[in-house]
Point group: C2
Chain length 276, copies 2
Amino acid sequence: MIIEKAKSYGFCFGVKRAVEIAEESQNAVTLGPLIHNPLEIERLAKNYNVKYVETIEDIDENVKRVIVRTHGIPKDKLQNLKEKNVEIIDATCPFVKKPQEIVEEMSKQGYDIVIFGDKNHPEIQGVMSYSVHNRVYVVLDPKELEGIRLKEHIATVAQTTRKINDYLKITNYLIQNYKEVRVFNTICNATFENQDAVRELAKKADIMIIIGGKNSSNTKQLYNIAKEFCEAYLVESEEELKKEWFEGKKHCGISAGASTPEWLVEKIISRIKELA
Amino acid sequence: MIIEKAKSYGFCFGVKRAVEIAEESQNAVTLGPLIHNPLEIERLAKNYNVKYVETIEDIDENVKRVIVRTHGIPKDKLQNLKEKNVEIIDATCPFVKKPQEIVEEMSKQGYDIVIFGDKNHPEIQGVMSYSVHNRVYVVLDPKELEGIRLKEHIATVAQTTRKINDYLKITNYLIQNYKEVRVFNTICNATFENQDAVRELAKKADIMIIIGGKNSSNTKQLYNIAKEFCEAYLVESEEELKKEWFEGKKHCGISAGASTPEWLVEKIISRIKELA
Ligand code: F3S
Ligand code: F3S
C-alpha cells in the first residue's frame, strides 16, 4: 500500500514560520497561544522554554523576550510592550501585516475603512488599530452598513480566513452605494489550499487519514471533503488507528488540520506502515 | 381629468445642458448629432444655425465654432480640433468627464485600466483615450478577461448607461483574482430615474402617454413599465393621439424618452387637453 501526503496540509505558511521563529528564540513568552494544539504548546515549552501568557500584564520581570504571534497585535499594545523593555520578536504573519499596512495607509489618505471580519477576533483587533482615524467599520454582513452614510471614498480589507463570496457581498453593497471603493483582497488562500489538496488526493486514494483536533472546524472540513470520495477517518493520535482499516487498501492518503504539527503527521505515518 | 408629468422624464441632465449650450452658441457645428431626435436637430439648425457634422474632416473653413457633444471626444481628436483654430465649446456631460479624468489619473498612477462598456460607443472611445498607457481593457463580460493576466493593481470605470449588476460581474471577477481593485461607480442613474418615475406614476394613473421614438430602446422600456400598471400608449407626435383613449379617464400620466424635447411634451399635453 502506498502512502501519499496531500500537496498541502497541516500548518499554514504563517504558523510554520512562527513556530520556527519560536524555536530560534528560546526563553521567551508568546502573547496568547502560538497555536491551538496542546501537544505542540507542550513541546515548545519543554524543548525551547517558550511559554505563553494571555495578556501583557501577565509578563513578569524576568521575561526578556516576547513573541508576537501570527494574528499580530494592536498598535497601542505594541507600544506598551515597547515600554516594558523586552526584546520583541514579531512573528505576525506577512499576510496579516498586509491589511494592517493597507488600513494605515488608506486611513492616512482619508479613506473611510470597511473591514470584513469578526471584530472580536485578535487579527481584526490588530488590523483595526492601524487606522489613523476612527471612521472604521468592522462588519460581517452588508446589513450592518445600511444605517450608516460613509464618505464617498472607501477602502476595504478582509479577515484572512474569510470566504471570498461573503466578502463580495460587502463590496457589492459598497460599489452600488458609493463613488469609489478601493478593494484589497487580503483573504489568505492557505485554508482553501488544504481543502483543494485533500479533495484531489481523496479522488485517487481508497482510504484517507485526516489528523487533527476532533473539535477543530478546519480539520472537520477536510474530513467531510475526504469522505465524499472514499473511506476516511479523523484521528487525533496514532493510538486511534485500527489495523482492519488498511486491509486490502492500495493507496492511503494523508492530510492534517491547520494546527497539526509535522512531527505528529510523521508519527502517524510510521504507525500506519507498521499496521498495513 | 388631471394630467400629471412623471417626476423625471425626457432629456437627462447632460443632454438638457448640451442643448442649452447649443442654443447659446449659434453658428456652430456639433461633432455628431447632439441628440437622436430629427425634430430637435431640425429646430437647432433652423433657430440657432447649429448643424452637425459626422467627423472633424467634414468641418469646412467657414466654421468658427465646434461643440463637443455629451459623449465627449477622444484626446487625440480634441488635439486635431485645437489645430483647426476654431472655438471649441465643450458640452461633454460632467458624468462622462468623470471617467475620463479617472482613467487619466489612475493610468498615471500605474494602474491597469478595465472599462466596463462597448468599445465601439463614442463615450467609451473617448474615455479610453485618456489613459497615458495602453494597458486598457474594454470588456462587457468577465469571460473576456479570462485569457489575460493583468497587473495586481487595477482601476475600473463603467459606461454611464450600463446596469450596475452587470458591472458587479466584472468587479467580482477582478476582486477574486487580483490584489487591489479600485472600483469607481461612474454609472449615471438618469436612465433609471426616468424608469422609477414612470413606474410610480403608472401606479396612480389610469392612462399613461409615453412620448418618444418608436425604435428608441429607453422609450420602449418606459412604455413596457407603464403598461404593467395601466392602459398605456407610445406616441411620436400629437397626431397619433385618439380621443377615445381618454373617455372616462380621471388621471393621465405623461412620460418621455431620453431624446424627447420638452417642447414636444408640451405640444402633446395641450393636444390631450383639447381631446379630453
Ligand atoms: S497565519 Fe496562516 S492562514 Fe494565512 S494569513 Fe498567515 S498563512
Ligand atoms: S448625458 Fe445623460 S444619461 Fe447621464 S451621463 Fe450625462 S446625464
